[in-house]
């Protein structure tokens, strides 16, 4: 936060307005988890009930979607960590023809509208006659998860003193030891931040998933289908609230980690 002693009243009002605009709708969702009314949003609430939490707990389809989302996010994040780190290392360490172009192409998926990525993937997957499955969802998510890891790790590499790697080799460490003792501790927090962001992105992704999933639904898709054919509408609100709380944690931590300077803590031996 700024240490400016006084911001003008106008600025304060604008900031407050912005925050309210962003967060009031979310609070409304929280509020309507408590309504006893099944199908409509009436205000003020006709009463207060906690029964929807119980109903949500017992819905089989909800649990399936939640598990699938977790699995997809976990696998996509691991893939992104490996591929993103390798790509960042390649772009940082070597100077090959078309390096800038490759860097641009790596970042592109996050800028492209999801619907374009989705259609492109669907066409490609269909063209190769690959059945839609868990793995096609993972591939779809990995396209943008790789980007956040790549960006975080590349930024860290650029801040790292390049001669550290030479010093390590000079002192007798082979490539694997150099990676383990010097490179990994240097990029550890970048990996953690990038990984958590990737997980959160994957966990609430809708558009690309609708094009790459088969019959399965991830949690966001499940919520989406609930809006079209409402059944126990407040259950959706309960789920939405939990998704928000669950994604809040990694995003919050990722931001804290990225904000820290390069003073990384190494493993204590």
């Amino acid at each position: 936060m700024r240490s400016n002693p006084e911001a003008s009243w106008g600025l304060k009002l604008a900031a407050l307005g912005g925050l309210l605009f962003l967060h009031v709708p979310i609070l409304i969702i929280f509020l309507y988890t408590l309504t006893p009314d099944e199908t409509t949003y009436t205000f003020p609430l006709p009463g207060i009930t906690f029964k929807w939490f119980g109903v949500a707990w017992q819905r089989e389809d909800l649990w399936r979607a939640l598990t699938l989302s977790f699995q997809v996010a976990a696998v996509a994040t691991v893939a992104a960590l490996i591929l993103g780190t390798l790509a960042a290392a390649a772009v940082y360490r070597s100077n090959f023809f078309g390096r800038e172009a490759i860097s641009f192409l790596l970042i592109l998926p996050i800028a492209l509208p999801g619907i374009v990525t989705g259609i492109a993937l669907r066409t490609a997957i269909g063209g190769f006659d690959i059945p839609f499955s868990f793995w096609t969802i993972v591939i779809g998510h990995a396209t943008f998860c790789v980007v956040v890891v790549y960006n975080n790790v590349l930024a860290r590499f650029r801040r790292m003193q390049g001669s550290q790697i030479e010093a390590s080799m000079d002192l007798g460490a082979n490539s694997i030891q150099t990676f383990r003792y010097v490179i990994l501790p240097n990029i550890a927090t970048a990996l953690l931040a990038g990984g958590m962001l990737a997980f959160a992105l994957s966990f609430d992704e809708v558009i690309v998933t609708t094009f790459t999933a088969g019959q399965q639904s991830t949690l966001p898709i499940w919520i989406f289908s609930q809006l079209v054919r409402p059944r126990d509408r407040p259950v959706t609100n309960v789920v939405a609230m939990f998704v928000m709380l669950i994604t809040f944690v990694p995003i919050f931590l990722a931001q804290r980690l990225s904000a820290q300077n390069s003073d990384t803590e190494g493993e204590t031996k």
């Binding site: 030479e166 390590s168 000079d170 031996k269």
Partner: protein, 345 residues
């Protein structure tokens, strides 16, 4: 021939080209066992590339490099018995000082108590005892320098490479470290190869110096030899200040128009009517500029032949008033024949 010990480092026709740029061009070089050897030259002269090839960070385009007789040209850095002190120190920021110093032992799987004991020894050698628990970010520039030195010495390398290690320090600290480096080298008895562009540093510390220019070695020799008998106009100009005299004036003084060099402190500034002694030569000139520097005064004298010569005289009896009054006057410059050094070119 008897069997002398193999040279610590031998370059056999070593070249390193980057595209069309010949960073190092057909260099032959021998560094003797146990000596303090400096590679001196302006930036881009190839000295750092030579150092990087000895360390293994760079491979020669052609030619071979021998470490105590063994061909190491194609070995990776971690298989050479050579360690480096980097210009930017390259300490590991996530490790404390002791772990930094012990790194070379850790990757060789030496057990922890042994490596901590030896790290402490090294820290004592570099006068950093008790600093083991600190992080590099909590140290001053001079202290980081010592950590880098301790870390590079812990494996007892056959050759220690130092890449302009004093460049980032201020003058006073630099002079102190020069003395200390030299004494550490004598204590550990390891061959040091020191890269620098600072001629004073090279003259102060080295047993021998190689002067680099444009990818080639111009001259190799002891500091006094390099200073007193520069082999080329480049060496004469790069190491210390030199007056280069050629053409008509040279012909009149030496009988040949081969260029020669004469150091400013070897020239005596005399009255225009003074006569040279038997083994001296002289030229007339006009003092164009006088710079009073306290300990000595630097004069710029334009000679009859059109050369501008720099003359340095100590202010043993003169004051600033005396020396400044010389400006614009006609003088006679005298020096011993012996101090003239033919440089060719």
């Amino acid at each position: 021939m008897s069997n002398p010990p193999a040279p610590a480092i031998r370059f056999d026709q070593v070249s390193r080209h980057f595209g069309d740029v010949k960073a190092v061009d057909l260099v032959n070089l021998e560094v003797r066992d146990g000596e303090f050897f400096s590679m001196l030259g302006p930036s881009g002269s190839g000295k750092t590339t030579c150092l990087r090839m000895i360390a293994g960070f760079d491979r020669p385009t052609s030619g071979q490099i021998f470490l105590y007789g063994q061909d190491v040209s194609d070995l990776p850095p971690y298989e050479r018995d050579v360690n480096t002190v980097f210009q930017d120190y390259a300490l590991f920021p996530h490790m404390n000082v002791a772990d930094n110093v012990a790194y070379g032992l850790m990757v060789k799987k030496v057990n922890k108590s042994e490596r901590m004991r030896r790290a402490e020894e090294m820290l004592e050698l570099t006068r950093l005892a008790g600093f083991g628990k600190r992080k590099p970010s909590q140290l001053s520039g001079g202290q980081r320098q010592r950590v880098a030195l301790a870390r590079a010495l812990i494996n007892h390398p056959k050759v220690l490479l130092l890449d302009e290690p004093l460049g980032a320090l201020d003058l006073k600290l630099r002079q102190q470290m020069q003395v200390e480096l030299k004494s550490i080298q004598q204590r550990v008895g390891i061959t040091f190869i020191f890269v620098t562009h600072d001629q004073e540093e090279a003259l102060t510390m080295s047993d021998r110096i190689a002067v680099f220019n444009e990818g080639k070695i111009c001259q190799v020799g002891a500091p006094a030899e390099i200073y007193e008998r520069p082999a080329s106009p480049f060496v004469a100009g790069f190491v210390g200040t030199s007056n280069l005299i050629g053409g008509e004036v040279a012909k009149r003084l030496t009988g040949s128009d081969t260029m020669f060099s004469i150091r400013p402190e070897k020239i005596h500034l005399g009255k225009v009517e003074s006569q040279p002694e038997a083994d001296m030569v002289s030229v007339e000139g006009v003092v164009r500029d006088v710079v009073y520097l306290g300990l000595f005064t630097r004069y710029l004298v334009e000679t009859e032949g059109g050369n501008d010569l720099v003359v340095v005289e100590q202010n043993l009896k003169t004051t600033s008033m005396d020396v400044l009054s010389v400006k614009g006057q006609k003088v006679r410059l005298l020096w011993h024949r012996d101090h003239m050094n033919p440089v060719g070119g």
